[in-house]
Amino acid sequence: MHHFALTIIGRDRPGIVSQVTEILFRLGCNIADSSCTILGGQFAMILIISHPAYSSRESFGDAFLPLEESGLSVFLRTLKPGGELHPEMRGEICMISVYGSDKPGIVYQVTRELGERRVNITDLNTKLVGSEQRPVYVMMLEAVLPEELSPEDLKAIMAQLQQSLQVDISVRSITPVEL
C-alpha cells in the first residue's frame, strides 16, 4: 500500500480536524501516525496516510480543494516504499531543555552540536514567552543518542554550549520503563 505525508496548516478555529478527517474517511484513507498542534495562531496537522488503491498524488483528485477554499494550505507528499516505517532506535533517550533571553541562533547552535554527533532529534518544540521587553526563548527537545555517546558526554557538550551561548541548558536521561 502506498503511503503519503499530508501537511495542513491554517488559521486556528474549531472544526479543522473533523473537516480534514471527514474527507479522508470518505476517500477511504487510513491515518497512521499523526501529530497536530497549535503554533502561534495557526493549527498545523501532519499525517501519514495510506489508501489501498491510490498510488500517486493524482489519485486524490481535487478532494482537498474544500480545505484550500476554507483557507487551509494543503501539501501532499508521496512516500517511497518503507518511508512510513519507524526506524529502530537503540540509543539512550534524552530530554534537553534550553531557555534564556531570546537571541538569534539558539536553535541552530544547539542542534548543530547534536547533528554533528549524529544525535537524532525525535521531537522539538520552541516557544517565545516572557514580555515584549524581555522575551524569553524556550526550546524543549527529545533526542536519541548514538550508541557511542553517553548522556554524560552530551551533558558536558551542552554545559560548554551553555557558556558560549549564555542560555540555560539541562539534559535529562529518559528511561522508558516497561512494566
Binding site: M95, V138, E142
Partner: protein
C-alpha cells in the same frame, strides 16, 4: 511452573475488573509461580498482573530490585494478592510502557509514596510503604486488576510544557 504468554491489548481481559483471589481456590499458588516465571522470563520486566497472563484474579507480582531505577529502594520480590492502596502522597512522572501494549510509551504521573495492604503468597496480611519507582510499578500493576492500562493515565503529550493554560 510455567512461563506464560503475555496477553496483548485488545484482548478484553485487560479491560476487565478482576475478581478477588481466594486461597481455597485451586491453582492460586500455581498462578503466583507462573506470574513470577513469566516476569523473570520477560527479562527487563519488573512486574506482571494476573490478567496479563489471562487470569482475571487480583494477583500481581513485582520485583524492581533488578532494575536500574529500583535497585536501591525496594522490597525485593513482592507477591500481592488482593492488594489495596490505603494511602498515597506526592507525585512523580515516568515514561511508562507495558508488555501488553507494545511499541507505545507515555508520560504517566502517579503517587510517589503509597501504603499498600495485601496478602502475601502464604496468606499473611501485610502492609508496606513503597516509594519511588517501586511505588509506580505497584500502581501500574494494580491498575491492571481494575482494567486500567497506562494509556488511561497518560498525563501529557511528550513535551507538555507549552500546553499549560495561562
Amino acid at each position: 511452573m510455567a512461563v506464560r504468554e503475555i496477553i496483548l491489548y485488545p484482548d478484553p481481559i485487560l479491560k476487565t475488573v478482576c475478581a478477588p483471589a481466594r486461597f481455597q481456590d485451586k491453582g492460586l499458588d500455581e498462578l503466583v509461580q507462573d506470574l513470577i516465571d513469566t516476569m523473570v522470563a520477560a527479562g527487563h520486566s519488573v512486574g506482571v498482573a494476573a490478567p496479563q497472563i489471562g487470569e482475571a484474579r487480583r494477583v500481581v507480582v513485582i520485583d524492581v530490585s533488578k532494575s536500574k531505577l529500583g535497585r536501591d529502594n525496594n522490597h525485593g520480590l513482592l507477591v500481592m494478592i488482593n492488594p489495596e492502596i490505603l494511602e498515597q502522597s506526592g507525585q512523580e512522572t515516568f515514561r511508562e510502557g507495558c508488555m501488553s501494549v507494545p511499541d507505545y510509551t507515555g508520560n504517566v504521573t502517579r503517587a510517589e509514596n503509597i501504603v499498600v495492604q495485601f496478602q502475601d503468597r502464604g496468606g499473611n496480611e501485610r502492609v508496606i510503604r513503597a516509594t519511588g519507582f517501586e511505588a509506580v510499578a505497584i500502581q501500574h500493576e494494580l491498575d491492571h486488576l481494575d482494567g486500567f492500562l497506562f494509556l488511561d493515565r497518560v498525563s501529557s503529550l511528550k513535551t507538555d510544557v507549552f500546553r499549560r493554560k495561562r
